[in-house]
Protein backbone atom coordinates (compact mmCIF):
# COMPACT_ATOMS: atom_id res chain seq x y z
CA UNK A 1 0.00 0.00 0.00
CA UNK A 2 1.39 3.41 -1.01
CA UNK A 3 -0.03 6.67 0.31
CA UNK A 4 0.68 10.35 0.64
CA UNK A 5 0.44 12.14 3.98
CA UNK A 6 0.95 15.87 4.25
CA UNK A 7 3.33 17.02 6.97
CA UNK A 8 0.47 19.12 8.37
CA UNK A 9 -1.62 15.95 8.84
CA UNK A 10 1.17 13.95 10.44
CA UNK A 11 0.36 14.93 14.08
CA UNK A 12 -3.28 14.02 13.45
CA UNK A 13 -2.25 10.54 12.35
CA UNK A 14 -0.26 10.12 15.55
CA UNK A 15 -3.29 11.25 17.56
CA UNK A 16 -5.39 8.54 15.90
CA UNK A 17 -2.99 5.94 17.28
CA UNK A 18 -4.09 6.53 20.85
CA UNK A 19 -4.31 2.80 21.56
CA UNK A 20 -0.58 2.51 21.05
CA UNK A 21 2.35 3.63 23.11
CA UNK A 22 4.25 5.99 20.81
CA UNK A 23 8.01 6.35 20.66
CA UNK A 24 9.66 8.92 18.40
CA UNK A 25 12.77 11.05 17.96
CA UNK A 26 12.73 14.10 20.22
CA UNK A 27 15.30 16.87 20.00
CA UNK A 28 17.27 17.85 23.07
CA UNK A 29 19.54 20.74 22.02
CA UNK A 30 22.08 19.17 19.66
CA UNK A 31 21.10 15.57 20.09
CA UNK A 32 18.06 13.45 19.36
CA UNK A 33 16.72 10.76 21.63
CA UNK A 34 14.13 8.12 21.06
CA UNK A 35 11.49 8.78 23.72
CA UNK A 36 7.97 7.78 24.66
CA UNK A 37 5.81 10.77 23.74
CA UNK A 38 2.34 12.04 24.62
CA UNK A 39 2.25 15.09 22.41
CA UNK A 40 2.65 14.47 18.64
CA UNK A 41 3.98 18.00 18.24
CA UNK A 42 7.14 17.00 20.13
CA UNK A 43 8.10 14.52 17.43
CA UNK A 44 11.01 15.76 15.36
CA UNK A 45 11.45 13.78 12.16
CA UNK A 46 14.07 16.23 10.92
CA UNK A 47 16.39 14.99 13.67
CA UNK A 48 19.62 13.28 12.80
CA UNK A 49 19.63 9.67 13.97
CA UNK A 50 18.88 9.09 17.65
CA UNK A 51 21.74 8.49 20.10
CA UNK A 52 20.40 5.00 20.85
CA UNK A 53 18.62 2.86 18.32
CA UNK A 54 15.18 1.24 18.89
CA UNK A 55 17.15 -1.64 20.38
CA UNK A 56 16.71 0.22 23.66
CA UNK A 57 12.96 -0.36 23.50
CA UNK A 58 12.90 -3.99 22.32
CA UNK A 59 15.93 -5.04 24.40
CA UNK A 60 16.06 -2.48 27.21
CA UNK A 61 19.26 -1.71 29.06
CA UNK A 62 17.81 -3.14 32.27
CA UNK A 63 15.13 -5.80 32.39
CA UNK A 64 13.72 -7.72 35.34
CA UNK A 65 13.66 -11.48 34.80
CA UNK A 66 12.15 -12.61 38.06
CA UNK A 67 11.54 -11.66 41.67
CA UNK A 68 12.38 -13.83 44.64
CA UNK A 69 11.12 -13.58 48.18
CA UNK A 70 11.00 -15.60 51.36
CA UNK A 71 7.41 -16.07 52.52
CA UNK A 72 6.22 -15.94 56.13
CA UNK A 73 6.50 -19.74 56.30
CA UNK A 74 10.18 -19.36 55.43
CA UNK A 75 9.50 -20.66 51.96
CA UNK A 76 11.41 -19.22 49.03
CA UNK A 77 9.25 -18.14 46.12
CA UNK A 78 10.25 -17.19 42.62
CA UNK A 79 7.97 -15.15 40.38
CA UNK A 80 8.56 -14.80 36.65
CA UNK A 81 8.24 -11.17 35.52
CA UNK A 82 7.50 -10.90 31.82
CA UNK A 83 7.09 -7.52 30.12
CA UNK A 84 3.54 -6.43 29.40
CA UNK A 85 2.54 -6.72 25.77
CA UNK A 86 1.89 -3.04 25.19
CA UNK A 87 1.13 -2.35 21.53
CA UNK A 88 3.76 0.18 20.56
CA UNK A 89 4.74 2.21 17.55
CA UNK A 90 8.20 3.60 16.91
CA UNK A 91 8.38 6.52 14.47
CA UNK A 92 11.47 7.72 12.68
CA UNK A 93 13.28 4.38 12.58
CA UNK A 94 16.26 4.64 10.25
CA UNK A 95 16.72 1.73 7.82
CA UNK A 96 20.05 0.75 9.42
CA UNK A 97 18.40 0.44 12.83
CA UNK A 98 15.49 -1.59 11.46
CA UNK A 99 17.92 -3.96 9.77
CA UNK A 100 19.78 -4.21 13.11
CA UNK A 101 16.63 -5.57 14.76
CA UNK A 102 16.45 -8.30 12.12
CA UNK A 103 19.94 -9.29 13.31
CA UNK A 104 19.16 -9.30 17.03
CA UNK A 105 16.05 -11.30 16.05
CA UNK A 106 18.38 -14.08 14.93
CA UNK A 107 20.26 -14.07 18.23
CA UNK A 108 17.14 -14.13 20.38
CA UNK A 109 15.59 -16.94 18.29
CA UNK A 110 16.94 -20.43 17.77
CA UNK A 111 16.60 -23.36 20.15
CA UNK A 112 15.99 -21.01 23.05
CA UNK A 113 13.56 -18.23 22.19
CA UNK A 114 13.99 -15.26 24.46
CA UNK A 115 10.49 -14.48 25.79
CA UNK A 116 11.43 -11.01 27.09
CA UNK A 117 12.73 -9.90 23.71
CA UNK A 118 9.90 -11.38 21.69
CA UNK A 119 7.09 -10.02 23.88
CA UNK A 120 8.32 -6.51 23.08
CA UNK A 121 9.33 -7.22 19.52
CA UNK A 122 5.99 -8.74 18.52
CA UNK A 123 3.96 -5.92 20.01
CA UNK A 124 5.94 -3.17 18.30
CA UNK A 125 5.34 -1.65 14.87
CA UNK A 126 8.32 0.00 13.21
CA UNK A 127 7.74 3.09 11.07
CA UNK A 128 10.84 3.90 9.13
CA UNK A 129 12.12 7.17 7.80
CA UNK A 130 14.27 7.04 4.68
CA UNK A 131 17.52 8.96 4.98
CA UNK A 132 17.41 11.56 2.20
CA UNK A 133 20.50 13.08 3.76
CA UNK A 134 22.87 10.78 5.68
CA UNK A 135 22.11 11.36 9.36
CA UNK A 136 25.81 11.01 10.15
CA UNK A 137 29.00 11.77 8.22
CA UNK A 138 30.05 8.24 9.21
CA UNK A 139 27.09 6.42 7.65
CA UNK A 140 28.19 3.42 5.58
CA UNK A 141 25.05 1.30 5.21
CA UNK A 142 25.73 0.69 1.50
CA UNK A 143 28.86 -1.29 2.40
CA UNK A 144 27.05 -3.79 4.60
CA UNK A 145 24.04 -4.66 2.49
CA UNK A 146 21.77 -1.79 3.50
CA UNK A 147 20.66 1.42 1.88
CA UNK A 148 19.27 4.79 3.03
CA UNK A 149 15.80 3.68 1.92
CA UNK A 150 15.96 -0.05 2.69
CA UNK A 151 12.65 -1.56 3.77
CA UNK A 152 14.16 -4.53 5.57
CA UNK A 153 12.66 -5.06 8.99
CA UNK A 154 10.19 -2.16 8.69
CA UNK A 155 6.39 -2.17 8.77
CA UNK A 156 6.10 1.21 7.05
CA UNK A 157 8.67 3.33 5.22
CA UNK A 158 8.13 7.09 5.07
CA UNK A 159 10.05 9.20 2.59
CA UNK A 160 10.18 12.97 3.06
CA UNK A 161 9.07 14.77 -0.11
CA UNK A 162 9.25 18.36 1.16
CA UNK A 163 5.78 19.26 2.41
CA UNK A 164 4.54 15.67 2.48
CA UNK A 165 5.57 12.10 3.17
CA UNK A 166 5.39 9.17 0.79
CA UNK A 167 4.12 6.40 3.06
CA UNK A 168 4.60 2.80 2.03
CA UNK A 169 3.07 0.00 4.06
CA UNK A 170 5.24 -3.13 4.15
CA UNK A 171 3.30 -5.41 6.47
CA UNK A 172 -0.13 -6.05 7.91
CA UNK A 173 0.92 -4.26 11.08
CA UNK A 174 1.80 -1.25 8.94
CA UNK A 175 -1.49 -1.27 7.03
CA UNK A 176 -3.42 -1.40 10.29
CA UNK A 177 -1.87 1.90 11.37
CA UNK A 178 -2.70 3.60 8.08
CA UNK A 179 -6.26 2.26 8.15
CA UNK A 180 -6.79 3.79 11.60
CA UNK A 181 -6.56 7.23 9.98
CA UNK A 182 -7.64 6.48 6.43
CA UNK A 183 -9.10 9.92 5.55
CA UNK A 184 -5.77 11.61 6.25
CA UNK A 185 -4.00 9.67 3.49
CA UNK A 186 -4.22 10.33 -0.22
CA UNK A 187 -3.37 8.25 -3.23
CA UNK A 188 0.08 9.09 -4.60
CA UNK A 189 0.32 10.59 -8.05
CA UNK A 190 2.77 9.44 -10.70
CA UNK A 191 4.84 12.54 -9.93
CA UNK A 192 5.09 11.50 -6.27
CA UNK A 193 6.47 8.10 -7.18
CA UNK A 194 8.99 9.72 -9.49
CA UNK A 195 9.99 12.11 -6.73
CA UNK A 196 10.59 9.16 -4.38
CA UNK A 197 12.79 7.40 -6.93
CA UNK A 198 14.79 10.56 -7.53
CA UNK A 199 15.22 11.24 -3.82
CA UNK A 200 16.38 7.70 -3.20
CA UNK A 201 18.92 7.73 -6.00
CA UNK A 202 20.31 11.03 -4.75
CA UNK A 203 20.40 9.76 -1.17
CA UNK A 204 22.72 6.90 -2.08
CA UNK A 205 25.17 9.29 -3.74
CA UNK A 206 25.39 11.32 -0.54
CA UNK A 207 26.86 8.45 1.45
CA UNK A 208 30.58 9.04 1.25
CA UNK A 209 32.10 6.44 3.53
CA UNK A 210 32.50 2.84 2.52
CA UNK A 211 34.44 -0.30 3.44
CA UNK A 212 36.63 -1.48 0.61
CA UNK A 213 36.36 -5.17 -0.35
CA UNK A 214 33.78 -5.98 2.33
CA UNK A 215 33.04 -9.34 0.69
CA UNK A 216 36.62 -10.51 1.23
CA UNK A 217 36.77 -9.42 4.88
CA UNK A 218 35.29 -12.55 6.55
CA UNK A 219 37.74 -14.90 4.86
CA UNK A 220 40.72 -12.60 5.46
CA UNK A 221 39.80 -12.38 9.15
CA UNK A 222 39.92 -16.17 9.46
CA UNK A 223 43.68 -15.92 9.11
CA UNK A 224 44.18 -12.81 11.20
CA UNK A 225 43.62 -14.06 14.73
CA UNK A 226 47.28 -13.68 15.63
CA UNK A 227 47.90 -10.53 13.60
CA UNK A 228 49.80 -7.63 15.22
CA UNK A 229 47.10 -5.34 13.76
CA UNK A 230 44.90 -5.78 16.85
CA UNK A 231 47.63 -4.51 19.17
CA UNK A 232 48.22 -1.49 17.02
CA UNK A 233 44.59 -0.56 16.43
CA UNK A 234 43.57 -0.99 20.06
CA UNK A 235 46.44 0.98 21.64
CA UNK A 236 44.33 4.09 22.20
CA UNK A 237 41.23 2.23 23.47
CA UNK A 238 40.02 3.51 26.84
CA UNK A 239 37.74 0.47 27.26
CA UNK A 240 34.80 2.81 27.82
CA UNK A 241 32.56 0.48 25.83
CA UNK A 242 30.61 3.25 24.06
CA UNK A 243 31.11 1.48 20.71
CA UNK A 244 29.09 -1.53 21.76
CA UNK A 245 26.60 0.20 24.04
CA UNK A 246 25.51 2.43 21.16
CA UNK A 247 25.66 -0.34 18.56
CA UNK A 248 22.18 -1.30 17.34
CA UNK A 249 23.29 -4.91 16.78
CA UNK A 250 25.29 -5.64 19.94
CA UNK A 251 23.35 -7.94 22.22
CA UNK A 252 25.70 -9.03 25.01
CA UNK A 253 24.20 -8.93 28.46
CA UNK A 254 24.85 -9.69 32.10
CA UNK A 255 22.53 -11.30 34.65
CA UNK A 256 22.71 -10.27 38.28
CA UNK A 257 20.68 -10.36 41.47
CA UNK A 258 19.64 -7.03 42.99
CA UNK A 259 18.82 -7.54 46.63
CA UNK A 260 16.49 -5.36 48.72
CA UNK A 261 16.78 -7.56 51.82
CA UNK A 262 19.43 -10.16 52.54
CA UNK A 263 17.70 -11.87 55.45
CA UNK A 264 15.04 -12.99 54.72
CA UNK A 265 16.23 -12.80 51.17
CA UNK A 266 14.24 -10.63 48.79
CA UNK A 267 15.18 -9.21 45.44
CA UNK A 268 15.14 -9.27 41.69
CA UNK A 269 17.16 -10.98 39.01
CA UNK A 270 17.92 -8.50 36.25
CA UNK A 271 19.48 -8.53 32.85
CA UNK A 272 21.57 -5.52 31.89
CA UNK A 273 23.54 -4.69 28.77
CA UNK A 274 27.12 -5.85 29.04
CA UNK A 275 30.12 -5.10 26.97
CA UNK A 276 32.87 -7.17 25.38
CA UNK A 277 35.27 -4.24 25.73
CA UNK A 278 35.32 -4.58 29.53
CA UNK A 279 38.10 -6.70 31.08
CA UNK A 280 35.81 -8.57 33.47
CA UNK A 281 33.38 -9.55 30.72
CA UNK A 282 35.21 -12.83 30.22
CA UNK A 283 37.26 -13.05 33.44
CA UNK A 284 36.80 -16.31 35.32
CA UNK A 285 36.37 -16.19 39.09
CA UNK A 286 39.85 -17.74 39.28
CA UNK A 287 41.27 -14.62 37.65
CA UNK A 288 42.04 -16.39 34.38
CA UNK A 289 40.92 -14.26 31.44
CA UNK A 290 40.69 -15.59 27.88
CA UNK A 291 40.56 -12.00 26.57
CA UNK A 292 42.90 -10.24 28.96
CA UNK A 293 43.87 -7.13 26.96
CA UNK A 294 42.52 -4.37 24.71
CA UNK A 295 43.94 -6.12 21.72
CA UNK A 296 42.00 -9.35 22.21
CA UNK A 297 38.84 -7.40 22.98
CA UNK A 298 38.99 -5.21 19.87
CA UNK A 299 39.69 -8.38 17.90
CA UNK A 300 36.58 -9.96 19.44
CA UNK A 301 34.43 -6.96 18.44
CA UNK A 302 35.63 -7.02 14.84
CA UNK A 303 35.68 -10.80 14.44
CA UNK A 304 32.26 -11.21 16.03
CA UNK A 305 30.74 -8.70 13.63
CA UNK A 306 32.55 -9.68 10.43
CA UNK A 307 33.54 -13.34 10.83
CA UNK A 308 31.73 -15.24 13.61
CA UNK A 309 28.29 -13.72 12.94
CA UNK A 310 28.73 -14.35 9.23
CA UNK A 311 29.56 -18.00 10.00
CA UNK A 312 26.48 -18.33 12.20
CA UNK A 313 23.87 -16.26 10.37
CA UNK A 314 25.27 -15.46 6.91
CA UNK A 315 25.15 -11.72 7.54
CA UNK A 316 27.41 -9.00 8.96
CA UNK A 317 26.61 -7.97 12.50
CA UNK A 318 26.86 -4.35 11.47
CA UNK A 319 24.42 -2.12 9.61
CA UNK A 320 26.66 0.85 8.96
CA UNK A 321 24.98 3.38 11.28
CA UNK A 322 28.37 4.88 12.14
CA UNK A 323 27.59 5.44 15.85
CA UNK A 324 30.71 3.59 17.07
CA UNK A 325 32.89 5.81 14.87
CA UNK A 326 31.23 9.12 15.71
CA UNK A 327 31.15 8.54 19.46
CA UNK A 328 34.50 6.84 20.09
CA UNK A 329 36.41 9.30 22.30
CA UNK A 330 39.77 8.24 20.86
CA UNK A 331 38.84 7.94 17.20
CA UNK A 332 38.90 4.18 16.69
CA UNK A 333 37.20 3.89 13.32
CA UNK A 334 35.77 0.53 12.33
CA UNK A 335 35.98 1.40 8.62
CA UNK A 336 39.67 2.23 8.91
CA UNK A 337 40.30 -0.98 10.85
CA UNK A 338 38.49 -3.04 8.20
CA UNK A 339 40.36 -1.29 5.40
CA UNK A 340 43.61 -2.31 7.10
CA UNK A 341 42.24 -5.85 7.25
CA UNK A 342 41.70 -5.69 3.48
CA UNK A 343 45.26 -4.46 3.00
CA UNK A 344 46.48 -7.36 5.13
CA UNK A 345 44.72 -9.78 2.80
CA UNK A 346 46.05 -8.31 -0.41
Amino acid sequence: MEKILTKKSFPQWVKKLSLYKIYAPVRDNDICNLEAIDNPESIDLDCSNTVLSPKKIIFPQREIYLEFETSDENKLQVKEILPEETPSVIFGVRPCDAKALTLTDKVFSGDFKDPYYWKRRNSTTLIGLACNIPPSPNCFCLSVGGSPHSKEGLDILMTDLGDKYFVESLSEKGSTLINLAKPLFQQPKAADKKAVEKTQAEAEKKIVRQIKDIKKIPSILENMFDSPLWDKESLSCLRCGICTYLCPTCHCFDINDEVSSSSPVKGKRVRTWDNCQFPDFTMHSSGHNPRPDRSSRLRQRILHKFQYFVELYKDYQCTGCGRCISKCPVGIDIIEVLDKVSDYGS
Partner: protein, 274 residues
Protein backbone atom coordinates in the same frame (compact mmCIF):
# COMPACT_ATOMS: atom_id res chain seq x y z
CA UNK B 1 2.64 -20.01 27.40
CA UNK B 2 6.12 -19.35 26.10
CA UNK B 3 8.81 -21.43 27.74
CA UNK B 4 11.12 -19.20 29.74
CA UNK B 5 14.57 -20.70 30.00
CA UNK B 6 15.81 -18.06 32.43
CA UNK B 7 13.54 -19.17 35.28
CA UNK B 8 15.23 -21.77 37.51
CA UNK B 9 13.40 -24.62 39.16
CA UNK B 10 13.66 -24.78 42.91
CA UNK B 11 15.57 -27.62 44.51
CA UNK B 12 16.66 -28.36 48.04
CA UNK B 13 20.03 -29.56 49.16
CA UNK B 14 19.76 -33.14 50.45
CA UNK B 15 23.29 -33.57 51.66
CA UNK B 16 26.64 -31.82 51.61
CA UNK B 17 29.93 -33.63 51.79
CA UNK B 18 33.23 -31.91 52.41
CA UNK B 19 35.64 -33.34 49.87
CA UNK B 20 38.61 -31.03 50.34
CA UNK B 21 39.34 -28.51 53.09
CA UNK B 22 41.93 -25.76 53.34
CA UNK B 23 42.32 -22.72 51.15
CA UNK B 24 40.72 -24.28 48.06
CA UNK B 25 37.81 -26.19 49.58
CA UNK B 26 35.59 -28.48 47.53
CA UNK B 27 32.15 -29.69 48.61
CA UNK B 28 29.80 -32.13 46.95
CA UNK B 29 26.11 -31.22 46.99
CA UNK B 30 23.29 -33.65 46.36
CA UNK B 31 20.11 -31.84 45.39
CA UNK B 32 16.53 -32.74 44.67
CA UNK B 33 13.88 -30.75 42.83
CA UNK B 34 10.93 -29.56 44.88
CA UNK B 35 8.48 -30.54 42.21
CA UNK B 36 8.45 -33.42 39.76
CA UNK B 37 11.86 -34.10 38.35
CA UNK B 38 11.65 -33.71 34.59
CA UNK B 39 15.30 -32.73 34.35
CA UNK B 40 16.87 -35.19 31.97
CA UNK B 41 20.51 -34.72 31.06
CA UNK B 42 23.49 -36.33 29.37
CA UNK B 43 26.93 -36.97 30.81
CA UNK B 44 29.10 -33.89 30.50
CA UNK B 45 26.24 -31.40 30.53
CA UNK B 46 26.09 -28.53 33.00
CA UNK B 47 23.44 -26.77 35.03
CA UNK B 48 23.10 -23.13 36.03
CA UNK B 49 22.81 -23.03 39.81
CA UNK B 50 21.18 -20.08 41.61
CA UNK B 51 21.79 -18.85 45.07
CA UNK B 52 19.01 -16.29 45.25
CA UNK B 53 20.44 -12.93 46.18
CA UNK B 54 23.92 -13.86 45.02
CA UNK B 55 23.43 -14.90 41.42
CA UNK B 56 24.10 -17.85 39.17
CA UNK B 57 27.04 -20.07 38.34
CA UNK B 58 27.45 -22.76 35.69
CA UNK B 59 28.47 -26.08 37.25
CA UNK B 60 29.03 -29.48 35.66
CA UNK B 61 26.76 -32.27 36.83
CA UNK B 62 28.90 -34.88 38.58
CA UNK B 63 26.24 -37.56 39.07
CA UNK B 64 25.34 -40.06 36.39
CA UNK B 65 22.05 -39.77 34.46
CA UNK B 66 21.46 -43.33 35.67
CA UNK B 67 20.92 -41.90 39.17
CA UNK B 68 17.37 -40.61 39.43
CA UNK B 69 17.14 -39.72 43.12
CA UNK B 70 19.36 -36.67 43.13
CA UNK B 71 21.50 -34.34 41.04
CA UNK B 72 25.06 -34.00 42.27
CA UNK B 73 27.48 -31.10 41.94
CA UNK B 74 31.04 -30.97 43.23
CA UNK B 75 32.05 -27.37 43.64
CA UNK B 76 35.31 -25.59 44.31
CA UNK B 77 34.81 -22.45 46.40
CA UNK B 78 35.96 -19.65 44.13
CA UNK B 79 33.67 -16.70 43.38
CA UNK B 80 30.57 -15.05 44.83
CA UNK B 81 28.07 -17.82 44.08
CA UNK B 82 30.29 -20.80 44.87
CA UNK B 83 31.31 -19.14 48.16
CA UNK B 84 27.62 -18.73 49.03
CA UNK B 85 26.99 -22.38 48.14
CA UNK B 86 29.76 -23.41 50.51
CA UNK B 87 27.92 -21.58 53.32
CA UNK B 88 24.67 -23.45 52.70
CA UNK B 89 23.21 -26.27 54.77
CA UNK B 90 21.15 -29.35 53.93
CA UNK B 91 17.53 -28.27 53.47
CA UNK B 92 18.48 -24.91 51.96
CA UNK B 93 16.90 -23.98 48.65
CA UNK B 94 18.79 -23.31 45.44
CA UNK B 95 17.63 -22.79 41.86
CA UNK B 96 18.63 -25.02 38.97
CA UNK B 97 18.14 -24.41 35.26
CA UNK B 98 19.38 -26.41 32.35
CA UNK B 99 20.78 -28.83 31.45
CA UNK B 100 23.09 -26.98 29.10
CA UNK B 101 25.74 -27.98 26.62
CA UNK B 102 26.38 -30.89 24.33
CA UNK B 103 27.63 -33.64 26.67
CA UNK B 104 29.95 -36.50 25.85
CA UNK B 105 29.11 -38.56 22.74
CA UNK B 106 29.07 -41.80 24.76
CA UNK B 107 26.81 -43.56 22.28
CA UNK B 108 29.74 -43.52 19.86
CA UNK B 109 32.04 -45.04 22.48
CA UNK B 110 30.36 -48.43 22.88
CA UNK B 111 32.88 -51.27 22.77
CA UNK B 112 35.82 -48.92 23.25
CA UNK B 113 38.37 -48.72 26.05
CA UNK B 114 37.80 -45.52 27.97
CA UNK B 115 40.69 -43.74 29.67
CA UNK B 116 39.63 -40.99 32.07
CA UNK B 117 42.30 -38.42 32.94
CA UNK B 118 41.45 -35.85 35.59
CA UNK B 119 43.14 -33.19 37.66
CA UNK B 120 41.73 -31.64 40.86
CA UNK B 121 38.08 -30.60 40.56
CA UNK B 122 38.27 -31.75 36.92
CA UNK B 123 37.14 -35.15 38.16
CA UNK B 124 33.60 -33.73 38.57
CA UNK B 125 32.54 -33.81 34.88
CA UNK B 126 34.45 -37.08 34.45
CA UNK B 127 32.60 -38.57 37.42
CA UNK B 128 29.26 -38.51 35.59
CA UNK B 129 30.51 -40.33 32.52
CA UNK B 130 32.79 -42.67 34.49
CA UNK B 131 29.91 -43.81 36.68
CA UNK B 132 27.64 -44.19 33.67
CA UNK B 133 30.23 -46.42 31.98
CA UNK B 134 30.66 -48.35 35.24
CA UNK B 135 26.90 -48.83 35.44
CA UNK B 136 26.86 -50.31 31.95
CA UNK B 137 30.29 -51.88 32.06
CA UNK B 138 29.33 -54.65 29.63
CA UNK B 139 28.85 -52.04 26.87
CA UNK B 140 32.43 -50.76 27.03
CA UNK B 141 35.94 -52.20 26.91
CA UNK B 142 38.49 -51.61 29.66
CA UNK B 143 37.99 -48.56 31.86
CA UNK B 144 40.99 -46.74 33.32
CA UNK B 145 41.17 -43.68 35.57
CA UNK B 146 44.29 -41.56 35.87
CA UNK B 147 43.66 -38.85 38.45
CA UNK B 148 45.82 -36.44 40.38
CA UNK B 149 45.78 -33.38 42.60
CA UNK B 150 48.28 -31.09 44.32
CA UNK B 151 48.32 -33.09 47.56
CA UNK B 152 46.54 -36.21 48.77
CA UNK B 153 44.15 -33.90 50.67
CA UNK B 154 43.12 -32.25 47.40
CA UNK B 155 41.85 -35.48 45.81
CA UNK B 156 38.06 -35.56 45.58
CA UNK B 157 35.78 -38.62 45.97
CA UNK B 158 38.41 -40.44 48.09
CA UNK B 159 36.03 -43.04 49.50
CA UNK B 160 34.36 -43.72 46.17
CA UNK B 161 37.77 -44.04 44.51
CA UNK B 162 38.62 -46.89 46.92
CA UNK B 163 35.44 -48.66 45.79
CA UNK B 164 36.13 -48.03 42.10
CA UNK B 165 39.67 -49.41 42.45
CA UNK B 166 38.09 -52.82 43.01
CA UNK B 167 36.45 -52.65 39.59
CA UNK B 168 38.82 -50.82 37.25
CA UNK B 169 42.44 -49.69 37.02
CA UNK B 170 42.91 -46.43 38.97
CA UNK B 171 46.23 -44.56 38.87
CA UNK B 172 46.42 -41.70 41.34
CA UNK B 173 49.08 -39.05 41.63
CA UNK B 174 50.02 -36.07 43.77
CA UNK B 175 52.32 -33.26 42.75
CA UNK B 176 54.74 -33.40 45.70
CA UNK B 177 56.08 -36.32 47.77
CA UNK B 178 54.18 -37.23 50.97
CA UNK B 179 55.37 -39.70 53.62
CA UNK B 180 52.56 -42.28 53.40
CA UNK B 181 51.90 -41.99 49.64
CA UNK B 182 52.54 -45.19 47.70
CA UNK B 183 51.38 -44.13 44.27
CA UNK B 184 52.81 -41.85 41.59
CA UNK B 185 54.38 -38.52 42.53
CA UNK B 186 54.39 -35.93 39.78
CA UNK B 187 51.98 -34.05 37.55
CA UNK B 188 49.06 -35.78 35.84
CA UNK B 189 50.62 -35.60 32.32
CA UNK B 190 53.75 -37.31 33.71
CA UNK B 191 51.57 -40.05 35.19
CA UNK B 192 49.95 -40.51 31.77
CA UNK B 193 53.38 -40.91 30.17
CA UNK B 194 54.37 -43.30 32.98
CA UNK B 195 51.27 -45.54 32.68
CA UNK B 196 51.40 -45.58 28.85
CA UNK B 197 47.72 -46.23 28.09
CA UNK B 198 47.31 -47.86 24.68
CA UNK B 199 45.64 -45.84 21.94
CA UNK B 200 44.29 -49.07 20.46
CA UNK B 201 40.46 -48.89 20.26
CA UNK B 202 40.55 -46.22 22.97
CA UNK B 203 38.96 -42.87 23.80
CA UNK B 204 40.43 -40.53 26.40
CA UNK B 205 38.43 -38.01 28.38
CA UNK B 206 40.53 -35.38 30.09
CA UNK B 207 39.30 -32.61 32.39
CA UNK B 208 41.23 -30.33 34.69
CA UNK B 209 43.10 -27.02 34.74
CA UNK B 210 43.86 -25.65 31.23
CA UNK B 211 47.61 -26.10 31.69
CA UNK B 212 47.14 -29.76 32.67
CA UNK B 213 44.88 -30.41 29.68
CA UNK B 214 47.47 -28.88 27.37
CA UNK B 215 50.25 -31.21 28.60
CA UNK B 216 47.99 -34.26 28.83
CA UNK B 217 47.11 -33.80 25.16
CA UNK B 218 50.82 -33.57 24.36
CA UNK B 219 51.52 -36.75 26.35
CA UNK B 220 48.68 -38.57 24.59
CA UNK B 221 49.88 -37.45 21.16
CA UNK B 222 53.33 -38.82 22.04
CA UNK B 223 51.69 -42.13 22.93
CA UNK B 224 50.10 -42.29 19.48
CA UNK B 225 46.57 -41.08 20.26
CA UNK B 226 44.86 -39.36 17.35
CA UNK B 227 43.06 -36.00 17.75
CA UNK B 228 39.69 -37.71 17.33
CA UNK B 229 40.41 -40.02 20.29
CA UNK B 230 41.03 -37.17 22.73
CA UNK B 231 38.05 -35.47 24.40
CA UNK B 232 38.12 -32.61 26.83
CA UNK B 233 35.83 -30.01 28.36
CA UNK B 234 36.29 -26.24 28.14
CA UNK B 235 35.26 -23.73 30.77
CA UNK B 236 34.45 -20.11 30.20
CA UNK B 237 32.59 -17.47 32.12
CA UNK B 238 28.88 -17.86 31.41
CA UNK B 239 25.73 -15.96 32.25
CA UNK B 240 22.81 -17.06 30.08
CA UNK B 241 23.77 -20.65 29.25
CA UNK B 242 21.86 -20.50 25.95
CA UNK B 243 24.23 -18.77 23.55
CA UNK B 244 22.89 -15.22 23.78
CA UNK B 245 24.79 -13.21 26.40
CA UNK B 246 27.93 -13.33 24.30
CA UNK B 247 30.85 -13.99 26.64
CA UNK B 248 31.73 -17.68 26.51
CA UNK B 249 32.45 -17.80 22.80
CA UNK B 250 35.51 -19.35 21.22
CA UNK B 251 35.25 -18.10 17.66
CA UNK B 252 31.68 -18.68 16.52
CA UNK B 253 31.17 -21.43 19.12
CA UNK B 254 29.36 -20.72 22.34
CA UNK B 255 30.82 -23.05 24.96
CA UNK B 256 27.54 -23.08 26.92
CA UNK B 257 25.61 -24.41 23.95
CA UNK B 258 28.08 -25.91 21.47
CA UNK B 259 30.49 -27.16 24.21
CA UNK B 260 31.67 -27.78 26.84
CA UNK B 261 32.76 -31.11 25.36
CA UNK B 262 35.16 -30.99 22.41
CA UNK B 263 37.37 -33.51 20.75
CA UNK B 264 40.88 -32.22 20.28
CA UNK B 265 40.23 -32.48 16.53
CA UNK B 266 37.39 -29.95 16.92
CA UNK B 267 39.04 -27.72 19.51
CA UNK B 268 42.33 -27.24 17.71
CA UNK B 269 40.47 -25.76 14.73
CA UNK B 270 39.00 -22.99 16.89
CA UNK B 271 40.85 -19.80 17.88
CA UNK B 272 43.02 -20.62 20.89
CA UNK B 273 41.19 -18.19 23.16
CA UNK B 274 39.94 -20.03 26.25
Amino acid sequence: MVHNDYIPKLAHILEIKEEVGGARPIKTFRTQFQNKNDFSFRCGQCAMLSVFGKGESMISISSSPLVKDYLQFSILKMGRVTSALHEMQPGDIIGIRGPYGNGFPIKDWKGKNLIFIGGGIGLAPIWSVLNTALGKKEEYGDLTLIYGARTSKDLVFREELEEIKKKIAVHLSIDVEESDWNEFVGFVPQNVTDKKPSPNNAITITCGPPIMIKFVIKALEDLGFKDEQIYTTVENKMKCGIGKCGRCNIGSHYVCKDGPVYSWAELKKLPQEY
